[in-house]
């Protein structure tokens, strides 16, 4: 392996970003997916559509709006400046926020499906046994939706590792802060450093295959007869 110090820094930064985003998306995505799976509100469909938007939008649309929103005249930029935090573009927290938007459906959708698959019955049974709402969630929902959580975590993590367009548009390519693996590969190719690009690109290819293999191997076998 011919990894330079910059390559290793980009690798570490990418893992840090994907890890942070996955943890935060679990915290945000679990209640959101629960609400989407259980609520009969007329807002379920609009909210589900908004959550799914990053699946169909080009990263340039997301990157452009995030850049404008983070700017001094944008809604997010106005808030962060008022709080004395400065602007979020070109910072690691800014990258985390943008990546959460970008990877949201990859966490929320598997969780929603897992929650829907549980159905009402086990929860009603638990309630008759005097299990409180929190108790029901941790002792009934969590074990039953285990596979959904694994899929959501793996896909959320992997999709953040694979992010490029949004990072390129709002990251500013700062070593150790916003220069993630996908951008580092792009820079190697632009600078005609194909050997280094191959090492990183090949590594990512292998990583992505293993991740998807693990997800598919973890699914229950489907029988068609």
């Amino acid at each position: 392996m011919l990894l330079t110090a910059d390559d290793l820094a980009a690798l570490w930064l990418t893992l840090k970003l994907a890890g942070t985003v996955t943890v935060l998306l679990f915290a945000l995505g679990t209640p959101l997916a629960w609400w989407l799976a259980r609520s009969r509100s007329r807002w379920v469909h609009p909210v589900a559509a908004i959550v799914a938007l990053p699946l169909v939008l080009p990263p340039t649309v997301l990157g452009f709006y995030v850049l404008v929103a983070f700017g001094p005249h944008g809604p997010v930029g106005g808030i962060t400046q008022a709080l004395g935090l400065g602007l979020l573009a070109f910072t690691f927290p800014g990258l985390v926020l943008a990546s959460m938007l970008y990877s949201l459906p990859f966490v929320v959708q598997p969780l929603r499906h897992a929650f829907e698959a549980i159905g009402e019955r086990p929860l009603e049974v638990a309630a008759t046994l005097r299990a409180g709402p929190l108790d029901r969630f941790f002792t009934v929902v969590l074990p039953l939706a285990r596979r959904g959580f694994v899929t959501a975590g793996v896909l959320g993590f992997a999709h953040t590792v694979g992010e490029f367009g949004v990072v390129l548009m709002i990251g500013g390519n700062i070593p150790r802060s916003t220069r993630v693996l996908s951008v580092q590969i792009y820079d190697h190719v632009e600078a005609l450093e194909y050997a280094q690009a191959h090492t990183l690109a090949g590594g990512l290819l292998l990583f992505s295959f293993v991740v998807l293999l693990a997800v598919y191997a973890g699914q229950p076998q489907r029988r068609s007869f």
């Binding site: 850049l67 700017g71 500013g172 600078a191």
Partner: protein
């Protein structure tokens, strides 16, 4: 058969008999460095006015990326680079049909969209009010290399470096400043003179003596060796109309002779 259906059938029949247009419309595709965005748009407009039968398509990006793409067989007929060394490298690899020709000199300026940049100097960048300073990526963008040279020559490199953000090319660098996410940036004069940018905050030229000359060069690629339109366009760059546009965007003049 109803009347409508009959009319419809007649229409379809007439359509089928209509001959396809056989006018041989010539077109070429140009890869141009991002600093040429406004200047080349004007040159192409002037060219198409003079040659109404022809179309010229321009794709803007970084010179390094275009060099790679042409090596890999990208369908560009001409290549206008921000640094003549890129077309020279392609010529050495036997991928060109003309000798790399100089068409101007690129210059760098300080530009801000949020404050009055007209009196700014590189020394001012040491001030902490400039929390983010945008330059093009010096690893593969010629304007980024020159920006780093100028910052070092001005003695502010150590102070500025931790606050730098890197645009993928000079166009994205300008966009970081335009959106206000970077308070100031070092961009191409050819972009800063555009009214849309110059009206915001203004710009201050960086002295030529602080960085190596940015000799702009273009070349006809090998695939267009026998394309008369590519040759005509290459010729047009020397015409007074194109030269006037290049002057207007600040590309004129001999490259600076270095330190005096």
């Amino acid at each position: 058969m109803s009347m409508t259906a009959r009319v419809f059938r007649c229409l379809m029949f007439a359509l089928a008999l209509t001959p396809l247009p056989v006018v041989a419309k010539e077109s070429i595709t140009i890869a141009a460095a991002a600093d040429l965005k406004f200047a080349m748009d004007d040159i192409v407009t002037a060219f198409e006015q003079a040659h109404p039968a022809d179309t010229v398509q321009v794709i803007y990006g970084s010179s390094g990326k275009f060099t790679t793409q042409i090596e890999q067989g990208a369908p560009f007929d001409l290549f206008f680079a921000a640094d003549i060394r890129y077309p020279q490298a392609l010529a050495q690899a036997g991928l060109t049909a003309s000798a790399p020709a100089r068409f101007g000199t690129g210059r760098i300026v300080l530009w801000s969209a949020t404050e009055d940049a007209r009196k700014l100097t590189l020394q001012d960048l040491a001030k902490p009010q400039f929390r983010r300073i945008a330059i093009a990526n010096p690893e593969h963008a010629p304007y980024g290399v020159r920006a780093v040279q100028a910052l070092k020559a001005a003695g502010v490199w150590a102070s500025v470096k931790p606050r730098l953000v890197y645009g993928e090319n000079i166009g994205q660098t300008a966009q970081f400043v335009q959106s206000g996410n970077a308070q100031v940036g070092i961009i191409a004069l050819a972009l800063a003179v555009n009214p849309a940018l110059a009206s915001k905050g203004g710009y201050a030229p960086i002295p030529d003596t602080l960085y190596d000359p940015l000799v702009q060069g273009f070349v006809i690629t090998r695939r267009a060796a026998h394309d008369p339109l590519a040759a005509t366009f290459a010729h047009f760059i020397d015409a007074p109309a194109a030269q006037a546009i290049l002057r207007r965007y600040g590309f004129a003049g001999a490259p600076p002779a270095g330190a005096h």
